[in-house]
Assembly symmetry: C2
């Protein structure tokens, strides 16, 4: 069989499994998830052994320390995988809930009902735990899942997927509901994302390169986020102590994530007071500051920013700062240079708050709070499969509801169209 | 400028217009829509003259009578366009409504708010009225729209778009909010649907060929429906008179549309009674019946069906019939051969109704009613921009709400992530 045919077979098996999964009760799905968690723990040694092989190959290939860290599994990371699956057990199952119901003048009763999407493909990179996390959320929402991780994590991902399948099967997980695409060929991704009619949704998780490749090749819907270029705007009406605290939290609490700020825009009226304090506070945390001329005129230790700094996602202790004439300039800058992910204003003025909330075109807009809250857990969704900077279907953190669709069930007693 | 650059400019103008549109009040948007309707009427002669040129060219090119009918405008069709725009005025504006609101333990107040999608491209064929219908729904929902109709309707569409722009501009429609892509090059469609970052959504409206081309070329999200292969299943528990009425209505009331049935599946227990009555009823309406062997054994006037009949969208007075052993076979057949659009059961048995409602994986599932109700107007949405057989974002009839997205506005008083 060709690679194309092999992958088509995987897609067809997933479609059959998805139809079975859609009819399984919440209680049974939870039993399956528990058994998956148990088996991850039971297979710990085999998973760690597979991971050791991945680590060795990656070290020989000269992978960076950061990548090796993402790849590495240990007892506590395996325990965390099992725990994450058990957390999903505790979440409310959205499947089957009635979103709305109305009656038409001709007596038709229309129910809009939440149902699974069907078959979801997850394309990811070096973190093997995505295998378990993504599978858990998909099974909870009765979606069959096709998993394809990075080649560095191949052995680890296969071992984890096998544990999930074995554990799940014990409690009635349909054959084909969780499939890992182990073919080493690079083209496997292309074949997966072009399976129109079999795969309903692709979620790529990883760096910008991976995501661009998936978007360019895909013929099925993709939900993604390229990057997080998040802003803090400090208004003239800001509580400057609050602004300093939020800047420090949003930049330093975990600089390597997509909801950390990369830029701070400061209203010209408060810049002479605020910028020196910001420099002092962030320098103490080791942050490298880059700024426009107006910012550097106030705080000369700030290094000059280049045009590329305004669109850069540093994912590091670096912050670009800019002085703006007013909130209009701040909003324009954010909409033009930002990534439509998460942006915050610190302001006492209700007018400024309202302008910012209405006009900043981002998935999450914060008034007097840190951007770091854009997260399924922090939003109260319990878990997330990713964050979308797209506008279709899901925007912002994607929890269980975002892994569902709906259908209309229309009840009649013989109605005909006239 | 190259075609690529020209189309990019259109995309950039649309993005700017979309940001302005998003801030316009419902009242003002309605004034704009009224002015658009007025100007369509005022420009009637110019539009009809443009349409005459399109009709002449299309007649010379030997277009079919059906295509010429879709292309042709007259006084009453122009009046209908203006009326459709005024109907949209009367609909509730979904923009700015709060979808939900909750408070987190740390005091953050999260608002999920309905906002415009941004820039929507509509790719269509020979019906010039789509120009006005699509523009009206997009402006109501504060989306900028890029329109690209078929070359047969080029002059008519340009004339209609000009009237919409002129009328709208009088009441403050932002420049660039309605743009018609008049470049004759075929590649214009490719350039439009690849404008990632500028175009947020593409809605193709037309035949399967157009839609496949758009899906293959697109790098931005597409919502579509390829075709409607709709089924009626007559259960053993059916009220056979009701089943006959629904079969006749769903097949004959308007056979050329996507929600007309193309297939009827009949439970083996009632087939000997039902099929002869069905043949009699539909033959009187000029329907050509094709069936499997079991159906032909009961009603020999039915012509033999081929495998291709089970997936065919006839859009004509043709119906394929099949005898099934039970409801399970009916559901399997529909999920396998159907288009996931609209499917109906006629049954008295509540168990059968429930199985059908739960297991048929279609946008709209009908219990004891005609499939012909899958329509924005019939669902009470007031208007529709199309019907989606996709599962992401919108499924089934797409009304105004389906032309919106949401964002999260998060209100705090200095919250930091710990």
């Amino acid at each position: 069989m060709s690679l194309y045919e092999e992958i088509q077979k995987i897609g067809q098996r997933a479609v059959v499994a998805a139809r079975e999964l859609a009819l399984i009760s919440s209680r049974k799905k939870n039993q399956i998830l528990e058994a998956m968690a148990d088996e991850i723990e039971a297979q710990r040694d085999a998973i760690l052994e597979a991971n050791r092989r991945d680590m060795e190959a990656s070290r020989s290939a000269g992978l960076s320390a950061a990548l090796l860290d993402r790849l590495e599994l240990n007892d506590s990371r395996i325990a965390a995988m099992a725990k994450a699956l058990r957390t999903v057990v505790g979440l409310k199952d959205p499947i089957g809930t009635r979103i709305s119901r109305w009656i038409r003048p001709n007596g038709l009763v229309i129910h809009k009902v939440r149902v699974p999407i069907g078959v979801i493909a997850i394309i990811y990179e070096a973190r093997p735990n995505v295998t378990a996390d993504a599978a858990g959320l998909c099974i909870k929402t009765a979606n069959a899942v096709i998993l394809r991780g990075g080649k560095e994590a191949r052995q680890s991902s296969i071992a984890i997927a096998e544990a999930l399948q074995t554990g799940g099967a014990r409690c009635g997980l349909p054959d084909g509901a969780i499939q890992y695409v182990a073919y080493p060929e690079r083209d496997a991704v292309r074949e997966i994302v072009q399976m129109e009619g079999l795969v309903d949704l692709v979620i790529p998780r990883g760096g910008e390169g991976l995501i661009r490749t998936v978007v360019e090749q895909a013929r099925v819907p993709v939900i993604k986020h390229y990057k997080g270029v998040c802003h803090l705007y400090v208004d003239e009406s800001a509580d400057l102590d609050m602004a300093l605290n939020i800047a420090e939290n949003a930049k330093c609490q975990r600089p390597g994530v997509c909801n950390a700020i990369e830029k701070t825009l400061v209203h010209a009226k408060v810049a002479p007071v605020f910028l020196p304090r910001l420099v002092e506070r962030l320098a103490a945390r080791g942050v490298d500051l880059r700024g426009d001329e107006a910012a550097r005129a106030i705080a000369p230790t700030i290094r000059p920013a280049e045009e590329a700094d305004w669109t850069a996602e540093y994912l590091d202790l670096i912050l670009a700062v800019k002085v703006v004439a007013d909130i209009r300039e701040a909003v324009r800058h954010i909409n033009h240079y930002g990534s439509h992910h998460s942006d915050a204003i610190v302001a006492r003025s209700e007018a400024a708050q309202r302008i910012f909330a209405n006009e900043v075109d981002s998935a999450a807009v914060y008034i007097n709070a840190s951007t770091r809250f854009t997260d399924g857990g922090e939003f109260g969704m319990g878990a997330e499969i990713g964050i979308s900077t797209d506008k279709l279907h899901a925007r912002g953190p994607m929890g269980l509801e975002e892994l569902t669709t709906y259908k209309y069930v229309v009840w009649g007693n013989g109605q005909l169209r006239v």
